[in-house]
Structure formats: C-alpha cells, structure tokens
Symmetry: C2
Subunit: 223 residues, 2 copies
Amino acid sequence: MEIYKNEKRQRYLEEYSIGYLFTFRIDEFLEVHEYKRDEWIIQEGTRPDFLFYVIEGKAKIYVTHQNGKVSLINFINEEDFFGEMELLNPIYYTKGVQASTKTVCFAIPFHRCRAKMLEDATFLRELAKFLSVKSTQMAAKYTQSLSFPLENRLADFILQTADGEVYKEKHVTVCDFLGVSYRHLLYVFAQFCDKGYLQKEGRRYRILQPNELNGLARVLMNE
Amino acid sequence: MEIYKNEKRQRYLEEYSIGYLFTFRIDEFLEVHEYKRDEWIIQEGTRPDFLFYVIEGKAKIYVTHQNGKVSLINFINEEDFFGEMELLNPIYYTKGVQASTKTVCFAIPFHRCRAKMLEDATFLRELAKFLSVKSTQMAAKYTQSLSFPLENRLADFILQTADGEVYKEKHVTVCDFLGVSYRHLLYVFAQFCDKGYLQKEGRRYRILQPNELNGLARVLMNE
DNA sequence: TCCGCAATATGAGATATCTCATATTATTGT
DNA sequence: ACAATAATATGAGATATCTCATATTGCGGA
C-alpha cells in the first residue's frame, strides 16, 4: 500500500473531487491510498480505520465461512464506498476487501471525521441512497439464487461482465461469486458451448448467440 | 385498512413517539394506519405514497419472479421502516408488503415530508444505520444460502422463531422464506424428527434437543 | 352446516449441484 | 529458466433439491 503525498495527492483531490458529497470541507482530511492487485485493503475480522471511496480500479468483498468455503459477496467499483458498516455500526463482523486491480481510494479517517460525517445531511443522504441500492441488489441476488438454476444466473453474469463479445473472467472467482462448485460451473459452460451460445477460444469464450443468453438472463429480472 | 383519527390517533402518537428519529416536528404529519392480517400494505409493482414505520404487528416483503415462484425476502418487525427504497430512489421496482398479523404503522406522506426528511441529519443517520444492518443481513443470508444446505439454515430458523420449545410456523411461508420446495422442507423436518431433535405434535413441533439444532445453526455464523 | 380452498403429507422419479480424485496447463517468484 | 503454485479440465459417484401426482386434513365463508 502506498500513500500519495503532496503534489500527487493534490492532483487526485482536484481530479476526483468528492466535495459535493459533503457539506463540510472534506479535502483536508482525505488520504489517497494506492493498493496493488490482490492486495488486501481490509483484513477480514479486523476493524478498519477509514471509510473508503474508490476512485480508480476495483475490488472484491469476501467472507470466509466456518466450513472453509469462501463467498465473494460483491464487487466494488469506482465511485463506491466501503467501510461504511464500520462507520455506522459499533459492532460488526468486518468482511475482507481485496483489490482486483491496482486500486486508488480516498481514505477518510474515522477518528477525525466520524462525528462530522454523522452530522452531515448531504453525506448521509448519499450514503443512505448507496446503501438502499446495495441492499436491494443483495435482496435480488438472494432471491434469484434461490429461485433459478445456475444456467440463468451465469447467463446474466456473462453478459454483465463480457468485454464486447469476449468473456474472460476467471472461473475460480466466478465460483465464489455465484456460489457454485468449480465442477458445476464448468458443466454449465460446456452446455453453453454445446448449444452454440458460446465458443471456447483458449481460456476465453466468444459469445456467439447473445440473444439466447439474454433469454436466460431476462428471466431473472423484473427488478 | 383503517386510518385512526382524533383521540385514537393521538393515543398512538403519544405512546409510540418517534419524534427522537427526527429533528423537525414529525407528529403533525403522521397518519396511523391499521391493516388486517393478510392485507396487502403495499402492492407489488406500484409506488407507495408513504414511508412506513411499524409500531405493532409484523409483515412480510414478497417478490414474484417471472417463473411464478414467490420469494419471501424478509420479515418486517416492530420498529422497522419500509417504503424507504421509494423515498430514496426515483426508480425502483416495488416489492409487495403483506401484514402477517394485525399491524399498526405510522405512515409518513412523501408529498408533505420527503424534502424535510432528506434534509434531516438525525433521520438520515437512523435510516442509514437501519439500511446498513439490513444490507448486511441480506448479504449474510445470501452467502449462507449458497454455502450451506437447508439443514443448517432450517435449524437456525427454527431456533429464531420458536416460542419457547414449541415451533409453529407455517410450512408454506417457510418454503418461500428459505427458498426451497415444500417437499424438501418436509424431508428435512422428517430427518430432524428421526434424529430426535424435534417431536411432531399435531401440526407443531416440540424442540427436544436444542443443542443439536444449535450446532447446526452455529455453523452459519461468524457475522 | 357444508363446501371449497389452503395447508399438510407422502411417494417416485428427475435434475442440479457437490465431492473427490487425477491430469494438464498457466503464472509467478527467485 | 525452473520449480512451485494457481488455474483449468474431466470423470465417476454421491446427495441435495425439485417436480409432479395424489391424499388427507383444517378452516373460513355462504
């Protein structure tokens, strides 16, 4: 982890200003942190000292279960907060957050800003909006996972994450995210290839029939 | 649905004051609504006109999927909000909310209070806290549902909802909540009885070995 | 009181998904 | 450049869960 100082810090503060999210002057409190790919930004089970706001890169939220299984709860993208649970709730089991790519965040120190943030209607409104979206998404994912087989959820995931007509996510990550075994994930990929929806190219897949995938994915949605 | 007026309304305002959740005077805006058991408080897919706060009774949030399956997303209990998604997000697919028992709520009209609420740091802080807990719970339920078989989740549910050593939830509701088929739910209940954890009494179950259930349930938790 | 619907129950067969074992490739650190 | 580790791949067998068919039981409304 690297902390940007002076001009470099200043450059980020100007380029990615988040002043509009607050009523008070936040800039003087902001630290700018850079994390390398695969670096853990927050360790599972420990309490972070900052509220984070992602400005470049992306990250993943993980939890480890008692049976050793790991779940990828969600992806964190640019303009997302994390660490907000610890800001609001005195007791909370902290999930692990790992950078998927080089990631630059604003880090807002709790000890200097907690009180101010918790009094700031502008910030709280944005935070509440962010949380309501997050909670809705989780609820949707939850009910979908219980109501539809992997086929549908995977079709959706492929379309969401494809880069043009090329899909190239790592299977191991997807297993944790969709909550299925590696073996089963491959079965369903094989089916999609058999049916001609996808074509395997090395370790990527080319989407040949997006409409078919769309049909499978659309079934999930209404929300 | 019945709207309490005059003295009856006044009595509720005094007995269950929620003034502490707001900086501005909320009382004059509050309506007091009573819903009968099984009545729909919010219709799925329509926009409500109120933010609700439950003072007596409980309710259930439902969503209907395209394949006809119904998911019970969550229970709403006393002191919970609902309708907050519609307060914060201009576009949102509204879930259905149904009273499980006779339910009395404060109903805060959007058209008169939205602007005030969205400026009120006290209210927004409470709302953010409520949402963060909700979102955390959903995330937990989501990952648990993907990581553990029904056996564990049902054990937890039985202990959470049992009245002393008697469990008496309706199977059909539990199916929607835990996202499993009626058939499978009964299989697992039969297993619990076989193993001597539960004993069937008419259409209730007596918990004979809470420790065994606890062992199954504890595996879920770390959060 | 009786009818009809909702809830409960149970069997049989299908399928979605998991576990484990074992190979074969990438990728990464030194 | 090589060894170690992570990721991909595939088979075989188990099990968690679903669908559908069919009965039985409880309960609220006419």
